[in-house]
C-alpha cells in the first residue's frame, strides 16, 4: 500500500513594528531580561491595552499579498489559559473576527505550480519566555517578548511532503521579507512554524488523525521533522496500530520527536471579545491605499528577471530570496545595465564575501554606484576577474573607489602582445620540463604555464590573449 502525507502549517511571524502591539515598549531582540516591558505588557492590575495601528497596517499587507478576503470589521478576543509566560492569564488574539480568511500562496513542485490555501490570518500578542536556571532550581520569566505583535498564518492541509512544506515556508518567508513586515529569522524565533501531519492511504479522501509538531528552529529541522513523523505514522498504521492525536516536540540533537501531551479533550480557551479594545473598521479606502503601497512581490519579480532581464531560474531565485539582494541588483543594473554580469557578481563574489565575514548581504558597505563601476571595468575588459576581486575587497574594507584604485595601482589589463609574449617566454624558459611534458601530450600542464605567465604580469594580462599566445608558442616547436 502507498501512503499520502498531508501537511498543514501554522506559521507565527513577529511583525517588525518599532513598538509592541498594545503599549509603547520597544521590540528589540536580545536585550537583558525584563528591560523592555511596562505595566501594560507585563499585565499589571488596571493597565489597559491600546492598539498600535501599524500592526493592522502590516497585517493588511500580508492579507493582500496572499489574496485573503479582508474582514471589514475586526475584533480582538481574549484566549484564556494559565501559564507563567502569560502575565494576564489570557492572550489577546482574534478568534471570531480575524483580519483575513481564504487566501492562497503558490509554491513550485515537480509537477508545476500548486496553490496552497490559506485558511486564516489573525493578529495576536506574543507571550514571554521561560528561562530555566542552569542549576535547575528555578524557572525564571522574561517578559521582554510579551506583547510583540504576531501574525498567525494558518494554511489549509494542502501540502503533501516535507519538500512542499519547505517551499511553502520559503515562499512565505520571501513574501514577508519583501513586503517589509518581518525579518523572518527562525533562529531568533521571529518566524516559527508548527506543523500538522497526518497520513492516509493513497486515494483515500478521509483525513487521518493528525499530530502537531513543535520546536523546529530551522527550515532543515522542519523538513526532517515532517519526514520523520510521516515515516513514524506509516509504520504504526502498517503494523495495525492507531495514531494518537498529540503534540510532539522535535529534538534537534536526537533527530526525532517526542510526544508532549495527549489531546483527548480539546483545550477550551473560552474566547470572548476583549472589552478593553474597540472593534476596528477596515474600509475599502484603507485597503486600496495599502494595496497601492505594496511593493512588487517576489513572484512577480522572479518572472520579470526571467523574461525581461534574461536571468536563469537559479539566478532569479537567489536574487529574489532576500530584498537586500534584489534591491542591490536592481539599483546596480539601473546604473550600468549588464544584468547578467551584475547578477553573476552578486551571486558569486558578493555572497562569498558575506559568507566569509558571516554577515548579511546588506552589511557590506558598497554602494550600487561603485559596484556598477566595478562590473563595468570587468565587463569591458579593463581589468581581469582576479583584479576585480582584489579591488572589491578594497572597496569593502577601505571604501576604495574602483576606478581610482585601478588607476593608482596600475591594475589595468595588459593587452600588449609584446609584453605578453615576453612573459610567456620567461615562464617557458623557467619551466622547460613542463614545456616538454606538454609537447609529449600532457595537455594539463598548460594551465600551470598560464598561471606562471600570468604571475609574471601580476595577474593583469588579458587571459584570452595570453592563452592564445601560449598555445601558439607551445604548438610551435623551437
Amino acid at each position: 500500500m502507498t501512503w499520502d502525507t498531508i501537511v498543514g502549517l501554522e506559521v507565527h511571524v513577529e511583525l517588525a513594528t518599532t513598538s509592541k502591539i498594545f503599549c509603547g515598549c520597544p521590540t528589540l531582540f536580545g536585550r537583558p531580561p525584563n528591560t523592555q516591558c511596562c505595566p501594560v505588557c507585563s499585565g499589571f492590575p488596571g493597565a489597559l491595552p491600546v492598539l498600535n495601528q501599524q500592526v493592522i497596517e502590516y497585517a493588511l499587507r500580508v492579507c493582500l499579498a496572499t489574496d485573503c478576503t479582508i474582514n471589514s470589521l475586526i475584533r480582538f478576543d481574549r484566549k484564556n489559559y494559565f501559564y507563567p509566560d502569560l502575565p494576564k492569564g489570557y492572550q489577546i488574539s482574534q478568534q471570531h473576527q480575524p483580519i483575513g480568511r481564504g487566501g492562497k500562496l503558490v509554491i513550485t513542485t515537480d509537477n508545476g505550480d500548486k496553490a496552497i490555501g490559506i485558511h486564516e490570518i489573525h493578529i495576536e500578542e506574543d507571550a514571554g519566555k521561560l528561562i530555566h536556571d542552569p542549576q535547575g532550581k528555578h524557572t525564571l520569566v522574561d517578559y521582554n517578548r510579551c506583547g510583540i505583535p504576531l501574525l498567525e498564518i494558518i494554511s489549509r492541509p494542502d501540502l503533501n511532503s516535507a519538500e512542499e512544506a519547505l517551499d511553502y515556508l520559503d515562499k512565505l518567508r520571501r513574501l514577508l521579507l519583501f513586503i517589509g513586515v518581518s525579518d523572518c529569522r527562525m533562529e531568533e524565533g521571529s518566524l516559527r512554524a508548527d506543523v500538522n501531519v497526518s497520513v492516509r492511504p493513497t486515494g483515500s479522501k478521509v483525513l487521518g488523525t493528525r499530530t502537531e509538531l513543535k520546536n523546529m528552529s530551522s527550515m532543515k529541522a522542519m523538513a526532517l521533522a515532517i519526514a520523520y513523523e510521516s515515516r513514524r505514522q506509516i509504520k504504526i498504521l502498517t503494523e495495525g496500530g492507531r495514531i494518537r492525536q498529540e503534540t510532539r516536540r522535535w529534538d534537534e540533537n536526537e533527530k526525532r520527536s517526542f510526544a508532549l501531551r495527549i489531546k483527548e479533550n480539546v483545550e477550551d480557551y473560552r474566547y470572548f471579545p476583549d472589552p478593553d479594545l474597540m472593534a476596528i473598521r477596515i474600509n475599502d479606502h484603507w485597503i486600496k491605499n495599502t494595496r497601492e503601497l505594496l511593493p512588487e512581490l517576489p513572484d512577480a519579480k522572479y518572472q520579470r528577471y526571467l523574461t525581461t532581464l534574461d536571468l536563469t531560474a537559479y539566478e532569479a531565485s537567489i536574487l529574489t530570496s532576500h530584498p537586500a539582494l534584489a534591491d542591490l541588483f536592481e539599483a546596480t543594473v539601473a546604473i550600468c545595465g549588464r544584468a547578467k554580469d551584475v547578477a553573476g557578481w552578486i551571486m558569486g563574489e558578493w555572497l562569498q564575501e558575506c559568507n566569509q565575514r558571516a554577515c548579511r548581504p546588506q552589511d557590506l558597505k558598497v554602494t550600487p554606484e561603485k559596484l556598477a563601476r566595478l562590473v563595468r571595468l570587468l565587463a569591458e575588459g579593463d581589468i581581469t576577474r582576479g583584479t576585480a576581486r582584489q579591488v572589491f575587497i578594497q572597496m569593502i574594507d577601505n571604501q576604495a573607489d574602483p576606478d581610482d584604485y585601478v588607476h593608482r595601482h596600475n591594475l589595468r589589463m595588459i593587452r600588449d602582445i609584446k609584453t605578453i609574449d615576453a612573459a610567456i617566454d620567461q615562464a617557458m624558459a623557467a619551466h622547460p620540463r613542463s614545456v616538454a611534458d606538454y609537447r609529449a601530450g600532457k595537455n594539463k600542464v598548460r594551465t600551470f604555464l598560464v598561471g606562471q605567465a600570468m604571475r609574471v604580469l601580476q595577474g593583469k594580462a588579458d587571459p584570452a590573449l595570453l592563452n592564445r599566445r601560449l598555445l601558439e608558442k607551445l604548438n610551435t616547436p623551437d
Partner: protein
C-alpha cells in the same frame, strides 16, 4: 460654628484658596476624624497620612506664593482601593493583593493630583468590587455612619462611608452594577456613575471591563461636577474613552421632561422609598420640570444579563492573579506541579465570593455554554439599551429609586448570587447601556437611614444630570443632613 468636616468639597477648596484654612490643616483635620471614627466605621484600608501631609505643605507653599490653583486644590480625598495609586497599597480588599503597591497611578489620580488633589486614604470595598456588598472585604465590612447596625452598602461602601463620616470631603469609587450609587444612597450622599467612556479606566483594577466606570462621591452635585471637570475626558491610555464636552451650567428646569417609569414602584419596594422618590419628582415639578409616566421595563432580564456578563469578564480579568509576578503567594513551599501552585494561590488568595464569580464566569465562557449564556446575555444587553434609548426619546431624564430598600444589616443579605444581583435592579441598566446615572439624597426612613433617588440620562448627558441635581439641591436640604451620632462629642 461650622466645623471643617461639615464643609462641602468646593467650600473647603474656596477657604483653602482664600487661605482661611491651610491645606495641612485640612489634612490634619481629616486624619483626626479618621482616628476618631474609622475604627468604628472601617471605611479605610490604608491611610496615607505622611505623603498627604507632604503634598499639602507643597500646595500651601504654592498658594502662599500667590499661585492660583484649581478649585479643589488642597482638599483631601479618599480613593477606593481598586484604583491604582503609585507607591500606596492598592489591595482591592483582597488577600490576593494585600501587599500590592502599584508602580503607577490611575489616570484619574494623575489628573486630580495635578490639580492639587491630596490622596489621604484608600477606601474599603467588597473584594474586587464584586458582589453588591462590602461584607466580602478581606478587611471586614464597612459600617454605615448613620447607624453602625447597618452596612454602608456596596460593594464600594468605604468611599461613601468616609465622606458621610466627615473623614474626607469627596472620594472616587467605581460602579459596575450600581455599587457606587447604592452606597451613596445608603449614606445620604451624591454620586455619579458617568457615561461609559467619559472617565478613563486606566489604573482601575478591572472587575467587569465593559461595565466598570469611575465616578465621584461627595456631599452635593456641585462638588461631583467639580470633580468630574478634573477627571473626565479622553485618555490615550484607555481606548474605550471618548471625547465629551463636560460643561455643567445652571439650568432652568422649565420645559425639562422627566420620565417616571411606573414599573419601578413595585410592591417589593420599601414603601418609604417609594414615597420619598415620588416626593423628589414632585419637588422637581415644583421647580418647573414636567413629570411624565413612561413605559420602561426594568425586567429581571437586565439583572440576569448583568450577572452573566460581569461574571464572564471578571473571570478573565482576575486570571492575572496567579501568584507569579505580584500579590499573594501560598506559604506552603511545596509546589512541584504548576497547576497545584495556581490552585493553592487562587484558593487561598481569593475569598469565597470572588471564587464564586470566577467559577460562574468560567462556566459561561466554556464551550457549549458561550452561545447559550454569554451571547444570549449580550443580546439582552442590546435590548436593555434599546429600551432605555426609547424611553429617553420621550423625555430628557428618567427618575427611579436606587435600591429596593435602605441600608442592609450585616449578614442579612441573600446567600445566592442571583438574589444579591436583584438588589441592583434599578442600577444595572445604566451600566449595561453605558448611560450616566446620578444619585441624590431625598429623605430618611423610619430608622433614620438615608434614601436616595436616581436620575438617568442619555449617553454623555453627565453635565445635564449634575446641573439638574444642583438645581434640586439648591431647593432642598437632604444633602446637608449629617449622620447624627457618629463620633460627635456634642
Amino acid at each position: 460654628m461650622t466645623q471643617i468636616h461639615e464643609l462641602g468639597a468646593l467650600e473647603l477648596g474656596k477657604k483653602i484658596a482664600d487661605r482661611e484654612i491651610s491645606a495641612p490643616e485640612a489634612v490634619r483635620h481629616a486624619l483626626g476624624r479618621m482616628d476618631l471614627l474609622d475604627s468604628t466605621v472601617n471605611a479605610l484600608i490604608t491611610i496615607s497620612g505622611r505623603s498627604a501631609y507632604q503634598q499639602a505643605k507643597a500646595i500651601q507653599k504654592r498658594l502662599d506664593a500667590g499661585e492660583k490653583l484649581p478649585p479643589l486644590a488642597g482638599v483631601p480625598l479618599a480613593v477606593q482601593d481598586n484604583i491604582s495609586t503609585k507607591d500606596i497599597l492598592t489591595t482591592c480588599a483582597s488577600r490576593m493583593l494585600h501587599n500590592y503597591v502599584p508602580p503607577f497611578s490611575a489616570t484619574v489620580i494623575d489628573r486630580l493630583v495635578a490639580a492639587g488633589g491630596i490622596v489621604i486614604g484608600k477606601t474599603n470595598l467588597g473584594e474586587f468590587a464584586m458582589d453588591g456588598t462590602n461584607e466580602t472585604s478581606h478587611f471586614g465590612p464597612v459600617l454605615n455612619p448613620w447607624s453602625t447596625d447597618h452596612l454602608a452598602g456596596g460593594s464600594g461602601g468605604g468611599c461613601a462611608a468616609a465622606v458621610a463620616a466627615g473623614e474626607v470631603w469627596y472620594a472616587l469609587g467605581s460602579d459596575t452594577g450600581g455599587s457606587l450609587r447604592h452606597s451613596c444612597s445608603h449614606c445620604g450622599l451624591t454620586g455619579l456613575k458617568p457615561t461609559y467612556g467619559s472617565v478613563s479606566r486606566y489604573g482601575l483594577v478591572a472587575n467587569a471591563s465593559s461595565l466598570d466606570q469611575i465616578g465621584p462621591v461627595a456631599e452635593s452635585a456641585a462638588d461631583c461636577a467639580a470633580v468630574m471637570a478634573l477627571i473626565a475626558g479622553p485618555d490615550p491610555k484607555d481606548s474605550t474613552t471618548q471625547p465629551m464636552e463636560f460643561k455643567p451650567e445652571p439650568v432652568n428646569l422649565n420645559g425639562l421632561v422627566i420620565g417616571l417609569p411606573e414599573e419601578c414602584f413595585l410592591p417589593d419596594l420599601q414603601p418609604e422609598i417609594g414615597k420619598a422618590v415620588q416626593a423628589a419628582a414632585h419637588q422637581l415639578a415644583v421647580l418647573g420640570a414636567r413629570i411624565e409616566p413612561v413605559a420602561l421595563s426594568l425586567g429581571e432580564e437586565a439583572v440576569a444579563a448583568y450577572c452573566l456578563i460581569a461574571a464572564a469578564e471578571a473571570s478573565a480579568n482576575l486570571a492575572r492573579f496567579d501568584g507569579i509576578q505580584y500579590g499573594y503567594r501560598p506559604a506552603d513551599p511545596k509546589h512541584d506541579d504548576l497547576s497545584d501552585y495556581y490552585c493553592h494561590t487562587r484558593q487561598q488568595g481569593f475569598g469565597a465570593a470572588a471564587r464564586r464569580w470566577i467559577m460562574l464566569g468560567t462556566l459561561i465562557l466554556s464551550a457549549g455554554y458561550y452561545d447559550r449564556y454569554y451571547l444570549q446575555a449580550s443580546k439582552a444587553r442590546r435590548l436593555v439599551k434599546e429600551n432605555l434609548q426609547k424611553a429617553l426619546a420621550q423625555c430628557d431624564l428618567l427618575l427611579t429609586p436606587v435600591a429596593p430598600s435602605t441600608a442592609p444589616r450585616p449578614g442579612a443579605g441573600p446567600d445566592d448570587l442571583y438574589n444579591t444581583c436583584l438588589a441592583n435592579i434599578f442600577t444595572v441598566s445604566a451600566n449595561l447601556s453605558g448611560f450616566p446615572a446620578l444619585v441624590l439624597p431625598c429623605g430618611l426612613d423610619h430608622c433614620n437611614l438615608p434614601i436616595g433617588f436616581q436620575l438617568i440620562g442619555s449617553a454623555f448627558s453627565d453635565s445635564l444630570l449634575l446641573s439638574v441635581g444642583t438645581a434640586y439641591q439648591e431647593a432642598t436640604a437632604f444633602h446637608q443632613l449629617r449622620p447624627p451620632h457618629v463620633g460627635e462629642k456634642t
